[in-house]
């Protein structure tokens, strides 16, 4: 039981880069979102806005 949890907690990449939800503090309960939902509500509109912002360059 302890062995199963240990690798997650001690993952050096998430600890070093602070990319986990715990380190970030901005995700909240975002883990409830599915990938397709994130694609439509986050990545797609963000991509469109970024393309428009970078278009003149």
């Amino acid at each position: 039981m302890t062995d199963a949890v240990a690798p997650k907690v001690a993952d050096p990449r998430t600890v070093l880069h602070g990319t986990s939800a715990i380190a970030d503090h901005t995700e909240g309960m975002g883990y409830l979102q599915t990938l397709p939902r994130r694609l439509v509500t986050l990545y797609l509109p963000l991509s469109i806005i970024l393309v428009v912002l970078l278009f003149p360059f």
């Binding site: 990319t19 901005t26 909240g28 994130r38 986050l42 963000l46 912002l53 970078l54 003149p56 360059f57």
Partner: protein, 314 residues
Amino acid sequence: MTDVALKPLLREPGAWDRLKVNRDWLGLWFMLPAAAFLLLFLAYPLGLGIWLSFTDARIGRSGNFVGLENYVWLWDDSVFWLSVFNTLLYTSVASVFKFAIGLYLALLLNHHMPFKAIIRAIVLIPFIVPTVLSAIAFWWIFDSQFSIVSWSLRKLGLIATNIDFLGDTWNARWSVIFANIWRGVPFVAITLLAGLQTVSPSLYEAATIDGASRWQIFRHITYPLLTPIIAVVMTFSVLFTFTDFQLIWVLTRGGPANATHLMATLGYQRAIGGGYLGEGSAIATAMIPFLLAAILISWFGLQRRKWQHGESND
């Protein structure tokens, strides 16, 4: 004997010596350089501009006091009123869109995602690039012959001829408004993002557990906690938009047929281009009441509520 020997050394401190170490005056000493800077570069030009608006000064000739003559002249000037209309339209439409898109972008950037820092840096690019440079890019995009937008729409079969973005009055107005929105969105987004990051995630978690919808979370948690920073950022945004000059001057120089002349560009054209310093100054001075109104609306309408200080509302 000892008292007599020390007396010349322990002389009574003068008023100047006391002022130098007085804590109450210390603040004044620290403030003096900034105050001098503000007086020299802000208050003096403002005062000079207001004074010039009451004179018939022209370039190379100091003017005489003419009272309100410049303002009376402007009151009957249709181009001036057109510039007032253009400025209000430009400011209101651009500010509303900058706020809406900026807030939406801030909410998107507040999510956890890969390459978050790089994306946030990229978003800032339109704001950090010199206005003249981005205006020249839009000049090409809006060109009547070589516009990539017209070319793309023609290739897609949606239009038959090129769109005259900067040659038609209303097309020109919407084009410069679009360019201003494009340039202003990053400033609003990044500032609001800073505000969003101060909102505790535990509030969102509690609301989610209570069954609140996304809209309810935004309406009752995010928006109220962002109100103070929205007040500040939108005040700045409205002021910057109202006094915009560079973008218009590079793209249209106020044309076609004065359709995109803002008060700032018209004042410059009359004062520097035409040489009528008094009249140009009067146009610039006429902007002050609008700017004061914008500040007051923001101050009284969106200022920090009492509950945000930990007190209850009346």
